[in-house]
């Protein structure tokens, strides 16, 4: 696991890591880690981001990692992405996109394709699929990467890079659900079955600090690698410090005094 790897590399004690898990198959990962346990919080469906906002701003020294599914993060929790992007909350989100609601047994999710048959769309889905990478960029997320669950090492590297980055980072992972939505062949390609792969490695020539290039990239599914990495984004904790640096602190005694008659 990338989390353990980082621990070793940076010699940050494992206690300093907090995993904020969504509700879904993906979030259950928080209970499955072996070895020294990081801290975890497995709250309610769709609220990983506000919870991590609370954790990270209450204690900026912590390394906070969000783990959530496409339903949790993009559907019920969709409202929380833009505000964190605007704050540039310094946490890393690993979004496991399987194009389906796994835990509740196969309903459609925001990334399920138009027209697809699922348990909740017996005659075909009537909503278009969302393009999460494009959306992240548009909301102003400062680090956006795209990964594929079958490439464990590549994924670990991207998570690492996201955690090293100071600012709001999202690693969006294509993670086929073998039970309800097995897109492995479509993503990886299968020469025998004549399936062209949807995924492709991002070209080395791509400059991840170039937002326009990033937008171009995410038009075509599914690039793998770092899509965007804002060059000079100041993270929330620093911003807060900057803004309040010149404010004289006060205390209750003084506040009461100012009201005396």
């Amino acid at each position: 696991m990338a989390i353990k790897q980082r621990t070793i590399e940076t010699e940050l004690p494992v206690e300093n890591n907090v995993i904020v898990a969504g509700i879904g198959c993906s979030g259950n990962l928080v209970h499955l880690l072996d070895g020294p346990q990081p801290f975890g919080i497995h709250g309610i469906h769709g609220r990983t981001l506000p919870i991590s906002l609370g954790i990270k701003s209450a204690n900026p020294d912590l390394n906070v990692l969000v783990v959530a599914g496409d339903g949790d993060f993009l559907s019920i929790g969709g409202e929380h992405i833009a505000p964190q992007a605007q704050r540039n909350l310094n946490v890393t989100c690993v979004i496991m996109d399987n194009g389906v609601y796994g835990l509740t047994k196969g309903q459609s999710s925001p990334t399920t394709e138009y027209g697809e048959i699922t348990s909740s769309t017996p005659y075909g889905k009537i909503e278009a699929a969302l393009n999460p990478l494009h959306l992240y960029l548009s909301m102003g997320v400062s680090f956006v990467a795209s990964a594929f669950s079958s490439d464990v090492r590549g994924l670990a590297q991207l998570i690492q890079e996201g955690m090293d980055y100071k600012g709001f980072s999202i690693v969006h992972v294509q993670s086929p659900c073998t039970t309800y939505n097995d897109t492995f062949d479509v993503l990886k390609g299968n020469a025998k079955k004549g399936i062209e792969p949807q995924t492709y490695a991002i070209d080395d020539s791509h400059d991840p600090e170039n937002l326009e290039a990033a937008f171009d990239l995410v038009q075509k599914p599914v690039p793998l690698g770092v899509v965007y990495k804002a060059a000079k984004a100041v993270a929330l904790d620093e911003r807060f410090e900057q803004v309040t640096a010149n404010v004289k602190g006060t205390n209750a005694e003084q506040l009461i005094k100012s009201l005396a008659i």
């Binding site: 801290f39 497995h42 506000p50 990270k56 209750a252």
Partner: protein, 570 residues
């Protein structure tokens, strides 16, 4: 006889400076030693809409708005029509004669605005009014002059000019009364208390209380009448380890408090009804995960968007059981501006002690009113320290049926705070025995909060009144009258709504009747009391305004009489 009490109401349209007028009057009176209380109600519109404010000035502590008004200042005809019947016999109505004309013996037309502007200051209309009011009750001139000097000595170049203009405004108002046939009885001189005082609004004091208790973390989404807590915090909750910001919604706010509480911060959010409803899932999760945090609900008229700028005590059911599942939230409901301070410190303390969410139920009528109160003793407030786990790893956070030291990220004892039912490590389990044990654990922890205090008087009586929250003040005033009338009735009061102090509950269970005045339709608190085995009934009203003292006197008397008849005939 001299007047001991003076009530003035300002009524007109939003944006006409009524709030300023009432507050200036109160501030000036407080500074010379009177007891003051204001009441503010305006429509939820930025401009326009019927608005009124009231200031009560008294030689003894003011416990309610005052039932009848001595002076009505009417800024337009609608205001005149709506409020004139509440003016007491011998009272005076002053109206803006530049706006409308009326023919009424007890009314005096004054062109406030014109006179105000004639001082050279476009904002001096209020001063004309204050000058007139002061004269009506025969206040020494220096009361207001001193006030004006204090307020406008801001170290600016034009201070002098402005002070002069305002004082001129005062005297113009005074002259209007002198020219007229109107007067009131003279207001008795103030009877300054021998303790230190402050003048403050409920929301500000609630915020200060939280800061005094060591609040680290505040997040809020604007909503009347809770917004001013956010604004106060944004300005003042600054310093090392402190964090404050505006959330993007109440759902974000409550989940952020959850995260901050989990990470070790003393965290709080404040909202009003609609926002409180949105927080419901998050509050339930904090209960389940055993994470401390304070949720303030400054009640307004409900349900739904309701009456954003009116008062009501109708969120008690919601506060006790905000979410699905078995949970019983600790609830503290201050009854006065002063109690807002102690309620906030106690709420933070409770949250840290039992490790869970605490509901702080305030009310619009306290939030926005200005009042003089004894200076709270900040030095006596102990900042609660959560019991933090400091052992080695491999800790079982959810073991046992009692509160247990809480590990904090960054320290030892890592675990998963889990909103699903969990084993002692925090991993998900659905074993029946764990659900049984954990449910009992969560309820058992409430016992730690049975330290609430309560007031009682004449506890030997079989019939008692027991107001809660903001109905305390009016009921206190009514109680004094009931005692004067020779009624045999006891008095109980606590701001600790859940858990109720056990000794109090015991006492209440022995009564033949407990009468609960509350500003809601359903009689929410008496219903809770009945489910706890207390013979309780409510006196309710749901006008969006606080109780009138005289109504309480009448209804309590009737209810007590009825009960006695039943007791005799049975």
């Amino acid at each position: 006889m001299l007047k001991q009490d003076f009530v003035v109401r300002f009524a007109g349209e939003g944006g006409q400076g009524m709030v300023t007028a009432a507050e200036a009057m109160a501030q000036a009176a407080a500074q010379v030693g009177y007891h003051v209380m204001t009441f503010v109600t305006f429509p939820s519109q930025i401009m326009g809409g019927p608005t009124w404010t009231q200031a009560r000035i008294s030689t003894t502590p003011a416990l309610s708005n005052g039932d009848d008004i001595d002076v009505l200042v009417a800024f337009n005809e609608e205001a005149y029509d709506t409020h004139k019947d509440e003016v007491t016999d011998g009272g005076v109505i002053i109206y803006d004669s530049a706006v409308f004309q009326i023919d009424d013996d007890s009314s005096l037309g004054v062109a406030f605005d014109e006179l105000g502007r004639s001082t050279g200051n476009t904002r001096a209309a209020n001063m004309v009014i204050l000058g007139a009011l002061a004269k009506l009750v025969n206040w020494p001139e220096e009361y207001l002059v001193e006030f004006v000097k204090a307020r406008f000595s801001r170290g600016r170049a034009d201070d002098e000019t402005i002070i002069e203009q305002n004082i001129h405004g005062l005297s113009l108002g005074k002259v209007e009364i002198e020219k007229s046939i109107f007067s009131l009885e003279e207001l008795a001189p103030p009877n300054p208390p021998d303790y230190e005082q402050i003048v403050v609004k409920g929301n500000d004091l609630l915020a200060i209380g939280a800061i005094a208790a060591g609040l680290d973390y505040y997040v809020g989404y604007p909503i009347s009448p809770a917004t001013t807590i956010l604004l106060y915090m944004e300005k003042n909750l600054i310093g090392p380890g402190k964090f404050v910001y505006q959330a993007s919604s109440e759902i974000e706010a409550v989940n952020t408090v959850m995260g901050a509480g989990y990470a070790g911060a003393r965290a709080m959010t404040a909202t009003s009804g609609p926002g409180f409803s949105l927080m419901s899932e998050g509050i339930g999760a904090m209960w389940m995960m055993e994470i401390p945090g304070v949720i303030v609900d400054v009640q307004r008229g409900g349900p739904a968007t309701g009456l954003p700028t009116k008062t009501e005590q109708s969120d008690l059911f919601a506060a006790l059981h905000p979410a699905h599942g078995d949970a019983s939230m600790p609830v503290i409901a201050p009854g006065t501006v002063e109690e807002c301070f102690y309620a906030a410190t106690k709420a933070i303390e409770w949250a840290e002690r039992y490790q869970g969410p605490v509901m702080l139920l305030s009310e619009h009528m306290m939030a926005d009113r200005t009042q003089n109160i004894p200076k709270p003793d900040v030095s006596s407030v102990k900042q609660p320290q959560r019991e933090v786990y400091s052992g080695s790893n491999g800790y079982l956070r959810y073991e046992g049926t009692d509160v247990s030291p809480m590990p904090l990220p960054g320290g030892p004892g890592s675990y998963v705070a889990n909103a699903s039912e969990h084993d002692p490590m925090g991993d998900t389990t659905h074993l029946p025995i764990r659900h049984v044990e954990n449910t009992e654990r969560r309820f058992n922890k409430l016992k730690l909060l049975e330290d609430g205090t309560y007031e009682s008087q004449n506890s030997e009586e079989a019939i008692a009144v027991m107001p809660w929250g903001g109905s305390k003040g009016p009921m206190q005033e009514a109680y004094v009258k009931l005692m004067e009338n020779g009624e045999k009735i006891g008095w109980y009061y606590t701001m600790f709504m859940n858990p109720l102090p056990p000794a109090l509950l015991e006492e209440l269970r022995t009564k033949d009747l407990v009468i609960v005045p509350e500003v809601n339709f359903q009689g929410q608190f008496s219903s809770i009391l009945r489910s706890e085995g207390v013979k309780a009934v409510s006196i309710t009203q749901y006008t969006g305004l606080p109780f009138k003292t005289k109504d309480l006197v009448k209804q309590v008397t009737e209810k007590a009489e009825e009960q006695r008849k039943v007791a005799v005939s049975s």
